[in-house]
Amino acid sequence: MAFGAFAHSTSDIKHKNASQKTGKIAWILLAPGLAYLALFFLAPLFSLIAVSLGSIEAVSLANQGFRYGFNIQNFAQLGTDYLPHVIRSFSYALIATAAALLISYPLAYFIGVKLRGRPLLQRMLVTLVIAPFFISFLLRTLAWSQIFSNESWIVHELQTLGLLAPDQYIIGTPFAVVFGLTYNFIPFMTLPLYTTLEKLDIRYLEAGADLYASPRKVFTKVTLPLSMPGVISGTLLTFIPMAGDYVNASKNFLGSAHTQMLGNVIESKYISEHNMPIASALSVALMAVILIIVGVYVKRTGSEDLL
């Protein structure tokens, strides 16, 4: 789907493949890769479940107190101790996805529809859209954390203007985290929007205008419905990684102790505290929500278009 935009020559030649053969060779080609994914993508999900039902006797430094078992209380904590983190993860991701959509749509429309007929310029601008991918994710997040740092020019100006109280800062607030999430995942939203808008038949829009629809009506009744596939896959591609992200909300980047998301808890439980059962339970819960979202998506659009 959306990732087709990465490959630069996706012309729509669809040959009726005369050489399509059934069976054997296909599976010889598929087997190694699929076996790899079964072993290192699918099996780990079951490992997570196994570990999430285990327990640790004492929080020791070297994982030694770990016991397999069938403890559901790790999951019960989701609704109590970790409820704020669950709520933060999904609400931050939701707001940031909406923001990314609002920012990306006009941009994708401009490149895909307004610049029709200027392919080199279109490609150059698409390259600029994905340019943030070419610099380390951590470095660009760090750049924002320094642009908005407590000693920064922006914070100083906002305080002088009275928009921020003298003891108020940007870093460490939910705003900063949502801002970082939005920024970091905008290309994932713009690309799929661009791929659908680029193929949009302009004659439909002209027909709408010819029939005396206002520009606003043309947009809501024609353009937007026709670009829905891009909106849906863009939303999916941004919401999911956002909900699992923990770099933006991390204390050393844009967040603080009050902005910790699910990912932050998973990281600190797993790596710093060696409390794998809790960390795994949180991962299982996150994955369950994601699977439901993907399931709804597949049901609506079919799985042929997934790749």
């Binding site: 990912g263 795994s280 996150l286």
Partner: protein
């Protein structure tokens, strides 16, 4: 004279602002790679070329980049071979369970990194496998694979089977047809997939952190660890250099294919 239409300027103007927003942190990172920062790189101290000229002298940045390149190259090689095979099978062959295969390839792209990272770590823990280069490479091949499939698949779809048939008609054996016709025609797609895969591997932080980040320091792990006390300007140097290299490659490919297209259009 026709009245000047300001409405027409709204979108281009918006696009300019959006691009400034998108590119600002990149400009910041590049600018601060020239910062004369002896202790912290958080504030602008003055211009210097020293960070670029002596990038490997202190701080262990280059060792981290070395690890990242090693891991990136090995993972990319494996992921590209496995992914290309799958891409060819998906386009060229009929087989049962196609829907399930598509879904299985899509899921790794749709799964949050913390889940994949902690899951793989749980598996290595269950199996008693110690973390290190091997576990990082295993993890990187896993998340690069689907991206390779998608990228190469787009190229296989543009391939005209008649070319391969012509080869067979001229009595080339299947192996020869593949080596002399299919593979060369797929090469641009495979190269793009390999580049994407290397970029993903080189930039990965979360999954790496869970599966060996405590023993092996890759470039992103280095930055994350350094973030507590202040990331040195040398990291900005590496980040900027990688950025310019990647942009140069992409622009080169785009301009070349655009020139070829105009030449083809003239021939027609």
């Amino acid at each position: 004279m026709k009245a000047f239409d300001f409405k027409k300027l709204i979108l281009p103007f918006y696009a300019v602002i959006a691009f400034v927003f998108l590119l600002l942190p990149i400009a910041y990172t590049v600018a601060f790679s020239f910062n004369d920062s002896t202790k912290s790189n958080a504030q602008w101290q003055g211009f210097t070329l020293n960070n670029w000229l002596q990038v490997c002298v202190r701080q262990g940045v280059c060792e981290a980049v070395g690890s990242s390149i090693l891991i990136g190259v090995i993972s990319t090689l494996i992921a590209t071979v496995l992914g290309t095979m799958i891409a060819i099978a998906l386009v060229r062959y009929k087989f049962k369970a196609r829907e399930a295969v598509s879904l299985g390839l899509f899921l790794p792209m749709a799964t949050p990194e913390v889940v994949m990272g902690s899951g793989l770590a749980a598996e290595f823990f269950n199996l008693g496998i110690g973390q290190g280069y091997l576990t990082i490479i295993i993890a990187h091949v896993m998340f690069c694979l689907s991206f390779v499939v998608v990228t190469v698949k787009a190229r296989v779809q543009t391939l005209d089977p008649a070319l391969e048939e012509a080869g067979r008609d001229l009595y080339a054996n299947p192996r020869r047809v593949f080596m002399k016709i299919t593979l060369p025609l797929l090469m641009p797609g495979i190269a793009a997939a390999a580049l994407l895969s290397f970029a993903l591997s080189f930039d990965d932080f979360i999954i790496t952190y869970f599966n060996g980040g405590q023993t092996v320091t890759t470039f992103p792990i280095f930055i994350y660890a350094a973030a507590t006390r202040g990331v040195p300007a040398e990291a900005n140097v590496i980040g900027s250099a990688v950025f310019f290299l990647a942009i140069a490659i992409v622009l080169f490919v785009q301009i070349r294919s655009s020139l070829r297209n105009t030449r083809l259009a003239k021939l027609k």
